[in-house]
Symmetry: C2
Subunit: 306 residues, 2 copies
């Protein structure tokens, strides 16, 4: 990352963390036991990629990023809930995440399930509530953004991708070939990881007041970035960057999960991620958004180490 | 129930079941494995109390119930998700529900968690999507209804109530006094059961075009009905109507869960439910809604056997 972009990310992340702290349900309205569980996972030190992409998309279409901040926070709430549920013993059974014990280890499985449910629900409560306005144009944007985010997070999107992943995983069978072919792997990741990244970009563009054309362009570019994100995730897992990932490296392969490096080899996978970035760049340039932060975020996704 | 009201409920339930079948995510967009899991629980034969209350509230304020049908379906999706997650081994650990094996018994815990997540998310996608309109007055109602439902279902509402319940439950300690006092029990149930019943009524009144005053009145009446619902639920559990409930009777007491009959005795609990119904009736009459179906639904709640 350039120094300038590093500073941009740092500033955005601080804004987002402040906003998240303000919107998280708290006592006395919210029972402390579940409020604390939600806060534990939300403050575990994520990259805040999705909210940063959301805000950058609002700016890219010439909008006020403040209008997109509730949606940006909602996307991080949803991402956090998905990690909590994915880490459960009945799913990926991960005991460490970002260098800390996962929530179910700390609070128990039942409370972890509830904290995830609470984060997911709060995302929609937040997007409905804020920004508080009677301006019918903004009200219409809010409703459209909620629809985009809910469709992406649901059973046709992220939840569906996790279901395909769960159904394809055969624990302890790493010596067998992956159970998904290349096309099925792409579909699974487009849902599991790609849908929410696309929704982050689209919701930002919608809240920023982008017209249908530019929202569609940003969505298409984000689809490429989402695929790149997943390919790089798989490579990082294989390469054993376990300190940076804060979780057990090589775990996907050990669980018999299909990955891009397993299907194509690490070098070809790396080229695929670079190709995604190129295609995203073409879309962004054609849409007249080359001056935005969108491609800085794309390069960050591809060149990250965690 | 009067014959007339019995017929009303039957007709509404048929409409709701038809609408639910049409909105449930399905292949090819939604992976079959999670679509089938969601459908299994949604078609398990619930009373459809919440959606019926939602539609009746829309009618009570003089609105078109068709405008409230998506919200009505969303409330049933949320209610169904809450049952799936509550039944999980990490929560209430129920293996039977409405006379059938619970979803995690059939599909595994991981898929049950995902099906619940998918139902919850689809509720908001549906309310954002339908009724499809650019009419700014209806758009504003939709956003307000989403806000009311999300606030009620989240960590300050239903999820928070379940968290309080989970934290208070001490398995196998039925010989000890209940771990919640009367006030804490009331707070827990107001969140766990009451909030979604109130939201069903409020969302119906909002979608029906009710003004702030009548929405508040209907919400207040529904709060009384929600408490009555829970008291009767506890009584039915104690009285061992396990055939009608389709689950193991006496289970709450055996789990050391605080209940109204345990705190007050069955007769006093029965009177409390009747008092709730009386207070709801006063609110409904004062609001000029005595001719609506709301009190028929109240009597159904109190006199039901499942």
């Amino acid at each position: 990352m350039t120094l300038d972009f590093t500073e941009y990310v740092r500033a955005r992340r601080a804004d987002i963390d402040t906003a998240l702290a303000a919107v998280l349900p708290a006592p006395p309205e919210c029972p402390a036991v579940v409020a604390e569980a939600m806060r534990y996972s939300l403050t575990a030190g994520g990259k805040r990629l999705r909210p940063i992409l959301c805000l950058a998309s609002a700016e890219a279409v010439g909008g006020d990023p403040a209008l997109a901040m509730p949606a940006a926070c909602a996307l991080e709430l949803i991402h956090t809930y998905s990690l909590i549920h994915d880490d459960l013993p009945a799913m990926d059974d991960d005991t460490m995440r970002r260098g800390r014990p996962t929530l179910h280890v700390i609070a128990g499985e039942g409370m972890a399930i509830l904290a995830g449910d609470g984060l997911l629900t709060e995302a929609f409560a937040l997007m409905a509530r804020e920004p508080a306005t009677a301006d019918s144009a903004i009200v219409a944007r809010k409703l459209r953004a909620i629809g985009a985010v809910a469709a992406a997070a649901g059973a046709c999107g992220m939840v569906g991708g996790q279901a395909l992943d769960l159904a394809a995983t055969r624990p302890g069978q790493a010596d067998r070939p992956p159970s998904l072919d290349a096309n099925a792997l792409r579909v699974m990741h487009a849902k599991k990881t790609g849908a929410l990244i696309r929704a982050a970009a689209a919701a930002g563009a919608i809240m920023g007041g982008g017209d249908d054309r530019v929202v569609a362009d940003i969505d298409a570019a984000a689809a490429e970035l989402g695929l790149a994100f997943q390919i790089v995730d798989d490579i990082l897992d294989v390469e054993g960057a376990s300190a940076a990932l804060g979780k057990t490296a090589g775990k996907d392969a050990a669980a018999g999960k299909p990955t891009y490096p397993a299907l194509y080899g690490v070098e070809a996978a790396r080229r695929m991620a670079a190709d995604c970035l190129d295609r995203a760049g073409e879309i962004v340039r054609a849409a007249g958004l080359a001056e935005s932060r969108l491609m800085d975020i794309g390069r960050w996704i591809v060149h990250r180490s965690d």
